[in-house]
């Protein structure tokens, strides 16, 4: 009986599970956007999706504490090998299936969505696929940053992903990043930070440094809205804050504008 009901993490209202699901896991009372896993995200955003590059798997090459066990535990729990799923798909609103896009969805449940070799490689590969096929790239970021257990190699993924996205920019292929709570550290400061358009879900945390570190540094308490989507929007750092249910149609509008003009306007390099 009780598992029909969920308590909202933000306003504390008791919400019926079916109502919540119908509302795309957004609290009907306070508009709080609940965490949804990457598979659910794909289901809610795309009408057809084909995963790619899923044969790439992580390695504990530094023998870092219990990293191997943690990888195993997370992959068993979630049924994925690392913190991102990439592929090609059509947006939900694309009923005629006209506009194919490259897709990457990060999974916060897997090692806090952290970026190590596998995440970096998959993002670079999907960006290169978009480059080869002239497809817009849509990434959903959700990550605590670079993955500590892969040391400096994780830091290098920041450079690698930016380098691959640079190719898209040079060939005028759009890259849209949708920020999902939270997106911080090395992921915010690499490919997310150079997206053509940065969209965020309401209430998501976006920033570089962790709030505890900042409070220790400045010896002050931070305001409650610090680093939220709305804070980023007010400071001119992101393009817009869009509710979950409007994201597919918004992405569709952006993508269709690229496809509409793509063959009518010549790119001169």
């Amino acid at each position: 009986m009780f598992d029909q009901w969920v308590k909202c993490e933000k306003c504390g209202s008791i919400v019926n599970k079916i109502d919540l699901e119908e509302n795309l896991f957004v609290c009907p009372k306070c508009n709080h956007h609940f965490y949804i896993n990457s598979k659910k995200r794909i289901e809610l955003t795309f009408c057809s999706f084909q995963e790619k590059f899923n044969s790439i798997k992580p390695v504990d090459f530094l023998n870092f504490d219990d990293y191997s066990e943690k990888l195993l535990k997370d992959s068993q729990k979630l049924g994925i090998d690392d913190a991102v799923i990439v592929g090609l798909g059509y947006l939900l609103d694309d009923v005629e299936k006209k506009y194919l896009v490259g897709v990457g969805v990060m999974e916060f449940g897997f090692r806090g969505g952290s970026m190590g070799s596998v995440v970096g490689e998959k993002i670079s590969l999907i960006a290169e696929e978009c480059y080869n096929q002239e497809l817009p790239l849509i990434l959903f970021s959700s990550s605590g940053g670079a993955r500590m257990q892969e040391g400096i190699i994780s830091l290098m993924q920041m450079a690698k992903t930016v380098g691959s996205i640079d190719k898209l920019k040079k060939n005028r292929i759009p890259f849209i990043n949708v920020v999902v709570n939270p997106t911080t550290g090395g992921v915010a400061a690499s490919f997310v930070g150079i997206a053509d358009i940065i969209i965020a879900e309401p209430g998501a945390i976006i920033g570089f440094a962790g709030q505890r570190v900042i409070e220790q540094t400045i010896k002050k308490k931070l305001p409650p809205n610090f680093q939220t989507s709305e804070f980023n929007l007010n400071n001119g750092l992101i393009d817009c804050v869009i509710e979950r249910k409007r994201i597919p149609s918004f992405l569709y509008q952006l993508v269709s504008s690229f496809y509409y003009w793509k063959n009518k306007i010549t790119v001169v390099n």
């Binding site: 504490d65 490689e121 892969e150 450079a159 400061a189 900042i214």
Partner: protein, 329 residues
Amino acid sequence: MEDLLNIFEIEKLLDKLEEKINFLKNLKDQGKLSNPQELDILEYKTNQIIQELKAKIHPFNRVQIARHPKRPVFQDLIENVFSDFVELKGDRYLGDDLAITGGVAKIEGYPVFVIGHNKGKTTNEKIKRNYGMPNPEGFYKAIRLMDVANNFRTPLITVVDTPGAYPGDTAEQRGQYIAIAKSIHKMFELDIPVICLILSEGGSGGALALAVANYVLMMENAYYSVISPEGAASILYRDSSKAALASRNLKLTSYDLLKMGVIDEIIFEPFMGMHRNLRQSYQDIKNKIIEYLIRGVEELKNPKKHRFERFRKMGIFKSLDSVMKNLVS
């Protein structure tokens, strides 16, 4: 518990030994040394002690040496490795961040642009320069100067020495993450050879923002890491005093990074750090930068492509496709 050496005690010991050696050398020069073997034995023994200690040096000892109060900073390199430096200031948007210094200079007569984190030496200067921790303006200044170097078709030397980008509220408000991302991106756009020297502290994203180079050189006792040892310890072990353990696990020394192919070459230092023989250290840095500068100019047909390929291949993972390929071939 980690087996750490006490670097300050070792330095005291080295000071004593060196003092004695110099004393004996002076006597010898004056022809007053009664037993000439005494000097040879002392030099031999000193060398033996150094070799023994070298084998025991812990990764966190290198972090300590990299943060040593007497260690030279970028300003010292500007004065002793480069010449004819003219500082170029400002980001042309909002301000001039003193945590990053840039400008035109010469190295052995070759004109170059230099950009680096500048920690400052005196307490006042350190505060003024925010201990080499840039705000967004610092990265925007670096980005601007990278463009200038590119337009002048002049090779760029970057020097990395930062604990990290500044973790402050106003830095976040003005988009620290976007500034770092844009600096990394700008470095991929440059058509000039870029050489990076990791001088002392290579702290995470704030370091990488200046380190997307064709060649990356690293001082023997510098560290370069995805997160500071203290930061890692507080997240992984909920105890920032376990920084020594974290620094061993993170594999952040020059030796580790060379093995992983993240850097091209180690510039060796006197035992216990470059501050123990500055003149030699500056000369070694100068020689290596010139070597890679010449190599970059002569060998790189397309520096931009070379830089992309260098970073594109970084990553360690299993891939069924590559297993299949290996089976077929």
